[in-house]
Amino acid sequence: MRLSLGFTRWMAIFIFSIFYFAFPLNSGAHSPAQGHEHVHQHHHQHHSAMEDVPKCTVCGMKVNMEGKFASWGKDANNNLVYFCDVGDMLYHLQKNSGTLKEVYVKDYEKNEWIEAKEAFYVQAKEHFRTPMRWGIAAFKNKEDAKKYGEPKTFSEILSTFSSK
């Protein structure tokens, strides 16, 4: 009888734990906090259905294609790949060297797509609040880039880029 009661008690605790952790109390707590200045809130207007929003190849985050830090490219099989952050694109290129045929980034000043290999990059976390906090922005013109910090070419930023 004693064993049976003990067993029932422990099973109750176990089942309670499963339910408690399967439905975390703070699962909805992020919604009010998301209310300010987060780039991913402004979904692309052309993407009416949630499934249409591209996801970042590196982190799985929904990519805001209207944002200033988005990037996209084509892999060796001409499949489209998307990145929520210029840093994620550089990380992907470092980990999978030579797998992207062409890559595009947004010009921070004009918000236009430009070729990643021809762009200039500035890493300044104090200026750029990017989705993944890499703090890297791309510029078409070197002069525009100089306003925010030391501009680097594509090969320079790729060689100095570190996820450590």
Binding site: F7, H30, Q34, H38, C59, G87, S163, K164
Partner: protein, 140 residues
């Protein structure tokens, strides 16, 4: 280690494993929440949190099993499985994935905390295995 001490240590193991299991579940949701539970949206680290929670539940289940199963073989088996689960807890974030940016909360806090918990679990489970294994050889 005399018999009385050994018995006392054996009784402590299930409690420690339970605490670690709860810790492994709570870490990515409450203690050091992954990005989704802060100001970010759902991404790959959310799935790591889920995987670690499942591992945590398994650890708690096995720890509860240690309370009721008293045969040496069962206790040795559970200890071995817990060593394996500890290694899985360490490798989980790398296997499932997490944010590469060092500024992200999952990269900065959650993953190191989980790896420490996994290492502690594996070491404790190894010690548990050793204690249960050693007892039999002493009786011989």
């Amino acid at each position: 280690m005399n018999e009385e001490n050994s018995q006392r240590i054996k009784k402590i193991f299930p409690f420690l494993f339970c605490i670690l299991g709860v810790g492994i579940i709570a870490t990515p949701y409450y203690i050091y929440p992954v990005c989704e539970y802060l100001i970010y949206q759902r991404m790959i680290c959310s799935y790591t949190a889920l995987a670690e929670a499942i591992l945590g539940l398994l650890i708690i289940g096995l720890a509860l099993g240690m309370f009721f199963l008293k045969t040496r073989k069962a206790l040795l088996g559970i200890s071995l499985v817990l060593i394996f689960l500890g290694i899985l807890v360490i490798l989980g974030p790398s296997l499932v994935g997490y944010c590469p940016s060092p500024e992200m909360p999952c990269h900065k806090y959650t993953v190191p905390a989980l790896r420490i918990e996994g290492a502690v679990l594996s070491l404790l489970a190894f010690f548990s295995f050793f204690v249960h294994f050693r007892q039999r050889t002493q009786h011989r």
